[in-house]
Structure formats: C-alpha cells, structure tokens
Amino acid sequence: MDDDGVRRDTPTAARGGSHEELDALWADPPGLWGRLRAVQNDAIGVRLMLTGFFFLLLGGSFDSFLMRLQLAFPEQALVSPQFYNELFTNHGSVTMFLVILPIFEGFAILVLPLILGTREMPFPRLGALGYWTFLLGGLVYYSSALFQMVPDAGWFAYVPLSGPEFSPDKAMDFWIIGLTVAEIGAIAAALEIIIGVLKMRAPGMTLARLPLFAWALLVMAFMILFGFTPLIIGDLLLELDRGFGTQFFNTAAGGSTLLWQHLFWIFGHPEVYIQFVPATGVVSMIVPAMTRRRIAGYTWIVASFVAIGFLSFGLWAHHMFTSGLSPIVLTFFSAASMAIGIPAGIQVVAWVSTIWLGRPQWKTAFLFVVGFLVIFVLGGITGIMTAAVPLDLQVHDSYFVVGHLHYVLIGGVAFPIFAGVYYWFPKFTGRLLDERLGRWNFWLLFVGTNLTFFPMHQLGLLGMPRRVVTYEAGLGWDVLNLLSTAGIFVIIPGLGVFVWNVVRSRRHGDEAGPNPWGADSLEWAVPSPPAEHGWSQLPIVRSRHPLWDQDDLHTGPPELENFVQRLADWPLNWRAAAIVGTADGRPQEVFRVAGPSIWPLVASGGIVLIFVAELVKLRWGAAIGLAITVVALVGWNWPSPAPMTEEEEAEFERDTGVPVNAGGSVVVAAWGMGLIILFVAIAFSTLLLSYFYLRLENPVWPPPGVADPPLGRALVAAALVAGSAVAARWSLARLGDNARPRFLAGLVAAIGLALAGVVVQVVDIAALDVTGGVHAYGSILWTLAGFNLTIVLAAVVMLGLALFWSIRGLYTGRAHAPVVNIVRFHVAAVAMWLIGFGVLYTGPVLT
C-alpha cells in the first residue's frame, strides 16, 4: 500500500471450478455461420470499433488529405469544384455518423460488462442488430460512390439545396437512407447501454460506486435517444419531400427551410456532446489509474455529465445565429451555449486537480490525456467565443469555426479514443502496445493537429470562408494554408504508427498480466484477455475503487457471498446473468441472456431492404423488407423452454432469496419496453413541434380554400381506440385473476376496437379535401396522422401475437410479462393517438 492509499498488488477474480464450462457456454459458435450468428459482447464491441476505424480511414483521412492538398496553394485545380463539394460532404457525414459514435458504442459494449462486474449486456441480440444495421447503413451510404452519385450538399444537408429541386438525382437519397439506417443501429445500441448500466452490475455496486465511464455512457445513450430520434424524423420529412412530393421545406407552399435547420441541429449539436461525453468518461478512468490518485470531485463530475446532457439540448440554434431568428430568441440560445461552459470547466478542474495531487506515470495513454486537456481547452474557449452572437456573426461559415470544431473533436474526442485504446488494449489482447511507438504516435498527432488546425483560426479571422474549393493569391491566406496542409503530412504518419503499433503489438507486444496499470476498476481483476463469460464468480463491490480498497473481490455480507457462489456453479447449461436494483445494487433477479441467433442479421437485412426500396424507387420492395423484418422479429422472440425444471428455479430462489427467470427477464423487458415507448414518444413530439412550427410560419392555417376538419368521425375513432386501451387493461387484470376466457375475450375486444378506430379514422382523413402534396398543411396532416395510425397498428400486431401465444397457453397468472409490456405499448400508442389527432382536428380552430 502506498502512502496515498493506493495499492500496487490488486486483487484478482476467483477462477472457480466451473470456469471452462462457463467459457464454452458463453462462446459464440465457430466458423462463418457462427460469426454471422455471433452476439457476444466481445465480438460485437470489437466489430463496431474496427468498422468505425475503417470508415475513419476511408472518409476521415482520405477526404481531408485531398482537401488539404487542394488548398495548399492558391488557385489550384487538383480537384473539381463538384468533387470538392463531395469531399467535404463525405468527410463531415462519415466522421459524424459512422466513425466516433460506433467506436464509443463499441468501447461500451466491449468494456462495460467487465467494468460493471457482470457477464453480458442485457440484449446481446439487439447489440448484434445495432452492429449489422450500422454496417449495412454505412455500406449503403458508401455505395453512392459506385454509382457516381456521391452526396454533395454538406453534412448538414440544408434545404433547399438538398431538396428535390436542387438535388434531383439520387445522391442525397443515399445520404438520407444510408445514414438513417445507421442511426437506427445507434439507437438500438443506446437502449442496450442504458439498461446495461442501470440494471446489470455487480452486487453492491450502488449508483454512488458506479465508475465514471459508465456514468458517461449512460448519459451518452440517453442523449442518442433524444438526439437521433428528431433527426430520423427530419430525414423522414426530407425524403417525403424528395420522393413523395410533400411540401415540408418548400417555402412557396407553406413549408419552411428553417424547420429543417431546427430538426437537424436539435440532433446536430447534442451530437457533438454525444461524442464528447464518453470521451470524458474515458479520461476520467485513465487519470486516476495513471496518477495513482482517486479522482477529485467524483460527484462534481457526475453532475457535470448530467448537466451537459441536458444543456446540450438547449443550444442547437447557435448554429443558426445568421439565419434571421429574432434577437430575443438569439439571447436564449447564446446564454445556454455559454452556460454549458460551466460543467465542462468543472470537469477540467477535476482532472487537473487529480493530476496535480497524484504522481503521473507518463505512459502513452496518459500523454494522450494531457494532449486532450490542452487541445480541448483551446477548442472550448473558442466555443465560448462563438457562443457570443456578435462574434459569431463575423466568423460564421469561416475557417475560424472549422478550426474550433476540429480542436473540440480531435482534441476532445479523438485523443481520448487513442488514450482508451492504449489503456484497454492489453485487457483484450493480453499484450501491451509498444510505448516507444506510442510516443511517436502521440507527438506526431499532437504536433500535426496543432499545425493543421491552429492556422485555421487565423484564416477565419482574416475572412477565409469554409467550403470553398480554392482562393485567390495575395489575400494573406497563402502561408497559413500551406502550414495547415503541412500539418496533414505530420498527422498521417502519426496514424500510420498507430496502425503499425496495433498490428505489431497484437502478436509481439509485452505480456500485460491482469492489471498492468495498477488501476482501480473491476475489469483489471479478470485475466487478460478475459474469458468469454468475463466473471465466473461475480464480484461483490464494497467501494468506488474496488481494486484499491478491497483485499478480496468476493467477500461481503453472507447472503451476497452465498448468491455469487451459487451463481458460479449453477446454471451451467444456460447463460445466466444477474439484475440488480438501480439505486442500491442489490440482486433482484437472475435471468437468461439470449444466445447466438441469425435473426438479428435477417432483421437488419429486412430494415435495410425497406429503405433501399425507397432509394431505387421499387416501393413494393419495402413490403418485402417489412415482411422479412416482422418474420425475423417473431423468430427472434420465439419462446424457447428453459433447459431446467421449475424445482431447480425454486430451489435457487429459496437458497439465495433471488428469483430466477429462465424464460427471459421480467425486469429488463419492462425497462426495454419503457425505453421503446420513450423513443416513439420523442419521435411523436418532434412531429408535433413540426406541426406547430409550420403553423407559426403560415399566417393562414389551414391555407385558403381548405376548410377546418370536421370533428364527428374523428371523435368516434378516438372513442374506439380509447375503448381498445381500456379493454386491453381490463383483459390484463383478468389474467391476474386467472379468468382465462375473459382475458382472451378482452384481448380480442382490444384488437377489434383498435382496428375499427383505425378504419373510421382512415375513412375520415380520406374524405377530407386535403392532399399531402399541395401545401405544408396537408403534408403535416397526412404525416402526423400516418404516424399515429402506424403506431396503433404496430400495437395491434403485438396484441395479435399476444393472443396467439395466449391461445397456445404460454402465459399464466404468474408469468405473463410480455403481455404486460405489449399492453403498456398499446396504451401509450392510444395516448399519442388522442393527442395527435386532437392537435390535427382542433389546431386550426384554436390557433
């Protein structure tokens, strides 16, 4: 033990007699077919990271290299203006959508189970779906190059440039469709991360003992849910304008170009923090390990994560300061943009204090952390500068902003990613990355980044606009541009050294041992590389720094010791994981984690087909895609009997006090459905806000010549679907009473009433003299109505499946969690119906 209370010889995880059996049980099947069915967190996490890095080399590096070559000297013509447009569009789109996010989601899925002291993520198949949709979406996006239709309207795809009039070919369709599919993958992974952090931890790991990396990922995942969903809606509206003739963004027909900017930046600014928050989580893990000092201000950092998560949703319009918003509105966004500097500053103080109080080991991972601090603080300061409206009016769309954002994203995000790779590489390969190469790697990147991007600030202040293919000589920009291009020639060898280091060290690096850094968090207690199941015997956490404070990881209160020992030996024929209370970390449930399956790949293929059908305008293909997706989801969730008896289940519970649900988790399923409802509710809220925004942009609503919608049939439809929700709830209560016939009758009634409501509503809408293609009023009316109808129909399909399985006797008065969740979704869908149609039918009258 050192005088600072931090120990060098940290405890290790107990291996246990069941180690080999568990390892084999949790391994993914071998061979190509096995790889396609793989769901294990190691496989999915590594794939996400490698795919993200592959897209980085393809889009981040190649594009920027060509752009910098073109700008090295004035009046060059290395690339054509059109090609230059494609380069910067691709560079922004790929790095923002296909690189950083999957890398962090990969980190999360790979590292979280070990850090949290559990065996898996809650939904391994959802993780696999997330990966496949991300990969296929990225490939669809990139396939535009094969067809010579590379998107060229900027990564923000502003209308009207990206609309049907000015981008009539399919290039922007590739952008919308490829990236939307990838966004769906991101949301799937976010659900997985939220529930993983909140519910799947080691016994005793209370919220107050949660590692900061897990806090950061939790906040990131919620931000993905709240940020990506509005973008998916924005993409939907843009594709409707492009492919179906709606008028959302056509100002000549009641639409609004600013609506797109709002929808895009409601995603686009949080996106920066979605990337930054997990990076700060990585830094918060490395700093204590490398300085041998407990992190200063743990609670302050947690508060900062949460504060950044919220505040980042109130800054989006600072990208729109020059778009003519009213001054009163500008002040709101300017103030919020400055306020977010407070939590970011708190974090910096906490890290610097920890370093100050500790004794740094100057390993490569720590060098990257220090590099991060230097570059990020500079980028943060220029961010506060541009939050001031008067300055932003001057530097908007200039190279100053390009310099600022690259300081934030390379210093604030890429450096922590490198730090994280150097830090965790030994855990997953068993070998250390080479320190000498690491130093070359760091210094080349550090010097190269500053050389490339610092002159951009000056160029911006001297008036150089962004997104220009070339510039005249003699404007004072020549030397600075040449310096900036020279920087790229330092960065590229830096990346080359990194790749070489990874390739070489993977086979020939020094052996790492379980805890090469003497770190405090749980992942360093298991062998490097870890077994497939991670933990044979789950740890019992009694401290925020378990490896520094605990002599033994498996001792604690007798009931917990008994629980983790029992779980190490039983079951050995199905994948068991523990669920704990969100706040208190007490074991709540043991459940069966899903195993390998081909259905996630099939489902993501179906999802991609739906979108690709729109891309190639063979819309009947979408029906096939939908059918494949539904079949895959049904197959995915097909109940399989647990390989054990009820007596075994009951015995384990009698022995440990913790119930067993080998049929699937009650707790995790309830949380999953809750988050899905949240996702749908966010999408719905975005459409409602779009409705009100379009209303505000139009002095007359509905447009002249269109009558207010009559209430009659809509009220009947609303009564029918409301009755359907009541019937579903009633039916559920009968199941609790074990009154099976009445339960089934209630389900049938719920389905029938909902279908009747849908029919009445469709008849009424069709009878209105409003089409979607003439005016934005009709566009939003049909879209919002279609959304509500679709959600209720999805609930009806789920109710139908519940009915099917009920008739086959799957559910009992004791075990019927899926029905409860389906009814929850149905009730939520009905509530959104009532609000949505309420707005559509009363909005024109009341406003």
């Binding site: 504060a307 009163i328 002040t331 969100t582 970390g585 007490r586 913790v658 609790g736 074990n738």
Partner: protein, 171 residues
C-alpha cells in the same frame, strides 16, 4: 403497475402468509421474494432518478417554454396566436424565469437536506448499511450532492437564459 406475478388472493393459491404480500402480491413462485419489477415498485430508484433529472428538467421546460412563447409572439399570426403579441413574451419569460429559478432552488434545498442528513439516497428505503457493508472509501461523498449541484447549476442557467429579456426585447 400491473402485476405480472402471482396474486395472493387468487383462488388456487395456497393462502399461506408470505413476506412481501403487502406490496400487492408481487411475489415469486418459490418463497415470496419481493419482486421489484420496475420503477413502480422500487421507490429508491425513483428517488434517485428524480434527483438527477428534477432540476435539469425544470431548466429544459423553462427553456422550451420561453423559446416557444417568443416564437409564437414574433413569428405567428392567427386568432389564438395574437394572445402572444408583444409585450406578452417578455412578461411571460420573466414570470417563467422567476418560477423556474425558485423551482431549481427548491430542488437544491431538498437535495441539500438529503445530503446533510447523512443518508445516502440509495439506502433510504432500506435500514442498515448498503450491501457490501460500509464504504471503505473515506472521501466518498453522498450522491445527493449531485442533486445539490444540479439544482444550483440549473438555477444559474435559468437566470442566464431568462434575464437577458430585460435588455433585449425586440423581435
């Protein structure tokens, strides 16, 4: 919440007295382990969630409210929207700012009391030390302090956003 576990009043139940029945029968098949299925039956979790989101949510609701009122006042025209013509946005913004700022302070005070009470939010519902015994980490502060910080930060942010209308009022 609807139970997805057994109901002790069910006719086919053995009728034996079990621990956990008072929570509405959310017990499991073997020995009646209380079955905390979701937030509805897990007050400690609900309290922890509230601690983290209460003050920032007040901030966000305030932000969206003043923004939408300003948009309605500056952009829209129509029978219902004329209610928001100037100077109504400024008045509403200031009123909302006062209410939201007080709300943030109230949250901060509530969390401060939790913190000073020396009881961790995660052990409020259960007597005795948290699982795993007392914390060995001497400098660990109770998590309720996060709630205090978020309350104060939200308070400052609400003032940041709301008060500039004292100077900038134009559309």
């Amino acid at each position: 919440m609807t139970s997805d576990r057994s109901d002790p009043d069910r006719p086919d139940d053995d009728g034996a007295t079990r621990p956990g029945e008072t929570d509405g029968g959310r017990t499991t098949q073997a020995s009646g382990t209380p079955m905390a299925v979701d937030l509805a039956s897990d007050p400690a979790t609900r309290r922890a969630m509230a601690m983290f989101v209460a003050a920032p949510t007040v901030w966000f609701v305030h932000f969206m409210f003043v923004y939408l009122v300003a948009e309605a006042g500056c952009t829209g025209s129509g029978t219902g929207l004329s209610l928001f013509d100037p100077p109504v946005p400024v008045v509403l913004t200031l009123a909302a700012t006062v209410v939201a700022a007080l709300g943030c302070l109230a949250v901060a005070r509530w969390q401060y009391r939790q913190w000073r009470g020396g009881r961790r939010v995660d052990e409020l519902e259960q007597p005795g030390p948290p699982p795993g015994g007392t914390d060995l980490d001497g400098d660990e502060r109770p998590l309720a302090f996060v709630g205090v910080l978020l309350g104060l930060l939200s308070f400052v942010s609400v003032l940041f956003v709301g008060l500039p209308v004292l100077w900038f009022t134009g559309c």
